[in-house]
Subunit: 331 residues, 2 copies
DNA sequence: TTGTAGGCGTTATCAT
DNA sequence: ATGATAACGCCTACAA
């Protein structure tokens, strides 16, 4: 077939013309599978998302969208696969049938069997999140420990003495979910450092859980004056529970944490929080993967993102314990 | 190669054993591209999502997740592609390089060039949403017209005389976005039918826009007592604008519309709304597509979903015009 | 029951 | 400058 006219070698205008006519007449379209077979690569990357049961958070959604975007920019297609749950077949197909040139693995667990699987298959991949061990793999992660530590310090500086950390669901924690674990580390570090009282509570990824969780918290710890969280989906519920209890943010109660920018800005009042740079993560993940595909034997790079904490309006000085709520009227 | 032992024909245990040994030793793994080339199908479907710029709504997200899920259940992979914006190359690759066996096309416009493109390519597809013309294509859609009509009737029954329809963004409407158009039809039908005053306002897909939009609405139409909407992303803003104005839902003001179940339930108070059955739509879309791929010449089926309107707590009798807000204290 | 050959559509190489 | 040919890996029909 005289198809080397994809610019590879020189061709006479007349021939080019003739070929074009044939293409038009026969409605010729190139076949990706044949090309993939010949070239040994698919120009497709796999994106492994958490199972659909656990609905994706905004952060994750933004991340997926930005991966698709970044991939499209370098002419890569994205094959979606949810792993975990009952359809691990999908993941297995991805890694074992040469369907993709590389994989982006979301929601890595501290001990994650998928990592070993990918390594055994020799398929290039980058993780979103990192495992506990020192496994040789490239990853991108958000520095939850540092961020939460920073948040708690901020609260301590404002005079809060007892703060709570609202983390993710019990199941996720039990499964060894990195961000939850590392948020805890940062939380405890800051607690010790500043001599604060802290309480950590797991919380489902939805408004209802957030509400119940904070209600319970306020009942059991009436002296609580601040919360920090990595659970953005719980935020509307947290807000609601506070409002229902008659606590006004930030005068009576401070909130801070890490969340997608939209959520932080949509919070009322706007949330003092580290804005997870989902867009940036998506772009970096793709370029890291592309790099990895090109040279699989380079030592893996790690990118730990520490977005700045945007000071908005959800944190303020701790209410003075006694007499309490009238104080601020005096200002 | 002697591995028609994928169950096709009978094979002696000894041979099978021998082959298995070789497989293990060489680390043989089947190659999807080769299979696709031979079989003439890819076992992959394409899912065309709106461009990442416009962040996906929860409805859309739920839909994507359920498509991935349903596809996995029948061992199909999902190739993601965002169309519109600047990366139409991605869409073009999808339709013209035999990368997928069929396509699910989200966010169909009333006049949508992609439909013609797919038809010309002879690629099976199903649309989420339908075009204006009588184009021969299978689709699944939500009956926005009927739903909004129903919502307005409900408001009329409750005594509301002037209601607003909060629709989607001006750009989307200008682009001929079906749901916006059809919501308008239903709105106007109900208005005429019941002799109500109505006003339709476009609104961006985010909380901020929702808030601004309702604030403007309340300024320009002080006698407004109810809103119906198809813009779920605007809901938090609508809620906020009302609260800021001191209007209590549902006593002073009623809200209803169509939204993902989560949003309706998370609304405060819980929203009387038609819950978009995203999950069901995803499953149906996949099975419609599979059917279509199997027999492309069958006349295309259409599925118009009319989910029931769940009566929750965001609608109530219109406040009596004069004297107004004290009335309900008397109850 | 098992081995072998040919072709799916592409592209790279070799010959013209 | 262009036409012919082989090979990527899988599947299947046919031969042994």
């Amino acid at each position: 077939m005289s198809y080397a006219l994809s610019g590879k070698r020189h061709v006479a205008p007349s021939t080019r013309r003739r070929i074009q006519d044939v293409i038009d007449e026969l409605g010729y379209r190139p076949n990706a599978a044949a090309r993939a077979l010949k070239e040994g690569r698919t120009r497709t990357i796999g994106l492994v998302i958490p199972p659909a049961g656990n609905r994706l958070t905004h952060m994750q959604l933004d991340f997926v969208a930005s991966v698709v975007d970044a991939a499209a920019r370098v002419d890569l297609d994205v094959l979606l696969s949810s792993s975990g749950g009952d359809h691990d077949r999908s993941f297995e197909r991805l890694v074992s049938e040469y369907r993709v040139d590389g994989v982006i693995l979301m929601e890595i667990r501290l001990e994650d069997p998928r990592v070993g699987r990918l390594q055994k298959a020799g398929l290039p991949f980058v993780g979103i999140g990192h495992t506990a061990g020192d496994q040789q793999m490239p990853w991108i992660d958000v520095d939850y420990a540092g961020l939460i530590q920073h948040c708690v310090r901020h609260l301590a500086d404002l005079g809060h003495r007892r703060v709570a950390l609202v983390t993710r669901s019990p199941e996720l924690i039990a499964a060894g979910y990195g961000p939850a674990r590392r948020a805890r580390e940062g939380f405890e570090t800051a607690l010790t450092e500043r001599g604060l009282d802290g309480i950590e509570v797991p919380c489902g990824d939805d408004a209802r859980s957030g509400q119940e969780c904070v209600e319970a918290l306020l009942r059991s710890h009436p002296d609580l004056t601040a919360v920090t969280t990595i659970n953005e989906a719980a935020l509307p519920g947290i807000q609601r529970a506070l409002a229902d209890t008659g606590l006004e943010v930030p005068y009576d109660f401070s909130i801070t944490g890490v969340a997608a920018r939209t959520w932080a800005e949509d919070f009322r009042p706007p949330l003092t929080a580290a804005d997870v740079p989902a867009q940036e993560m998506g772009e970096k993940a793709v370029s890291l993967l592309v790099e990895r595909i090109a040279s699989p034997d380079t030592p893996p790079r790690h990118i730990l993102l520490t977005p700045p904490i945007s000071l908005r309006s959800s944190t303020a000085a701790a209410p003075t314990p006694w007499p309490s709520r009238v104080d601020r009227a005096a200002h």
